[in-house]
């Protein structure tokens, strides 16, 4: 592990890739690595990019990466796609649009499957973010599909969340969970050259003004891009960087970090506490409780009191 970390910190991409696999697979050896990665991490800025399928996310991320590279920043990209609940497999196709970046040693692109546990996804992604951060990538772009809770979780680990929409969704935009817009620090209408762009912009403008939070000090800008021609991309990068500056200057960065750290700590604590307690209770006792619950001989609250009484 020492060797592997040394190579990874020196920027050897094979070692970085191996390290990411160990973290993703939750290998026991990864625990030791996590400790060292976390201590080294903290320099990178993380941008979450989310939006429906067909919104051109991958192409937009490609252009964002190129723009960052023009400014001399190294870029890590994590592209997340859903695992099939039936087969456990996944089709990870984000590389198709981004393969042009593979010639650039300053870009590391990793495709990740959600592997079924949506709650655990954010944690798995955050480990990979730590790894890329610790290995020197200064901007980390995390791409997700944007269909639900997982995205909200991932938005918590990003400094800046960019939500992408496309024209032609019409009234479907209304169906676009207020949740998604709420997590947006920046909203982008991509494929802005298509008919319906004006309408999309106007609907989004209304929704944004309705959900605006005057106390927060940051009004999410509404931007237009045409990713395939890279039109609007430097404006998008400008907005991202402005948001990051705002976070630092306003003290929001610290507040968010604290929230994130607390959330993460508590989540891991909860899991570990439960795991240990469950091991102490033993399967037999646990199953017995479940049986009694099923037979309505016991209610869940009393069951918990019983289990915890032994802990005292």
């Amino acid at each position: 592990m020492d060797e592997l970390l040394k190579e990874a910190f020196a920027g050897r991409r094979r070692a970085i890739a191996r390290l990411i696999s160990l973290l993703e697979d939750d290998e026991p050896s990864a625990r030791e690595a996590l400790a060292r990665l976390y201590l080294r991490a903290g320099q990178a800025r993380i941008v979450g990019v989310t939006g429906p399928p067909g919104s051109g996310k991958s192409t937009l991320i490609l252009q964002m990466a190129r723009e960052y590279r023009r400014h001399g920043l190294t870029v890590g990209i994590i592209a997340v796609d859903p695992t099939s609940p039936f087969s456990g497999g996944a089709l990870l196709g984000d590389r198709i649009r981004m393969q042009a970046l593979s010639a650039d040693p300053g870009v590391f692109l990793r495709s990740m499957a959600s592997r079924g546990s949506l709650g655990g996804l954010a944690r798995a992604v955050s480990k990979v973010v730590w790894a890329l951060d610790a290995c020197g990538y200064r901007r980390i772009l995390v791409e997700t599909v944007g269909t639900g809770q997982a995205e909200v979780d991932i938005a918590r680990l990003a400094h800046t969340t960019v939500v992408i929409q496309v024209p032609g969704l019409g009234d479907d935009i209304q169906a676009l969970k207020a949740g998604i817009l709420e997590i947006a620090d920046i909203v982008v209408v991509n494929k802005a050259d298509l008919p319906g762009a004006e309408r999309a912009l106007s609907v989004l403008r209304t929704m944004l003004s309705l959900s605006s939070c005057p106390s927060s000090g940051w009004q999410p800008p509404l931007l237009e891009t045409v990713a395939i021609t890279s039109e609007g991309v430097s404006g998008l990068i400008g907005a991202v960087e402005r948001h990051m500056a705002y976070l630092s200057q306003s003290g929001r960065l610290r507040a968010r970090e604290q929230m994130r750290v607390l959330g993460e700590l508590e989540e891991i604590l909860r899991e570990e506490l439960f795991r240990r307690a469950r091991a102490r209770w033993g399967e037999a006792r646990y199953c017995q409780i479940v049986q009694r619950l099923m037979a309505h001989q016991l209610d869940p609250y009393t069951a918990v009191e019983e289990l915890l009484k032994d802990e005292a």
Binding site: A17, S84, G93, R95, Q99
Partner: protein
């Protein structure tokens, strides 16, 4: 699921015009529980090897229709070795004349699948080869 999914790269080196076959295999592998990184058309050997490296795949499936396999495959195998990826299992599918198969196997390719090979046979073969390699390592 007892083990983590295998990761496999499906790539089309060279100038093939369409990727129907590659997509069919990619989907079959996904349905077989693999995580498939699909890179699309017109990949250079360098792009393929770099992707394999970053994605830390256990196997690579090359789909070649153009007849350029005798230049593309040796180049890819060489690059893989150079990058320390000699352990990655390589399979080739597409239009490969029978007389070229022995040469490909000699280069280190693990299996060659012509058009019309049933996809479940391909998936089973790949899984078998990967499992065999894995048990080789764990028995050390």
């Amino acid at each position: 699921m007892t083990r983590k999914p295998y990761r496999i790269l499906i790539a089309k080196p060279g100038l093939d015009g369409h990727d129907r076959g590659a997509k069919v295999i990619a989907k079959a592998l996904r349905d077989g529980g693999f995580e498939v990184i699909y890179t699309g058309l017109r990949q250079t050997p360098e792009m393929i090897v770099e992707a394999a490296l970053q994605e830390d795949v256990q196997a690579i499936g090359l789909s070649i229709l153009s007849g350029a396999h005798m230049t593309l495959v040796p180049r890819i195998m060489e690059l893989l070795r150079q990058q320390g990826l000699g352990d990655v299992l390589v399979f080739v599918g597409g239009i490969i004349p029978d007389e070229d198969i022995p040469m490909l196997l000699e280069l280190g390719v693990r299996g060659v699948f012509g058009p019309g090979t049933p996809t479940d046979r391909v998936v089973a073969f790949i899984r078998q080869e990967l499992a065999a390699q894995e048990s080789q390592w764990t028995s050390c």
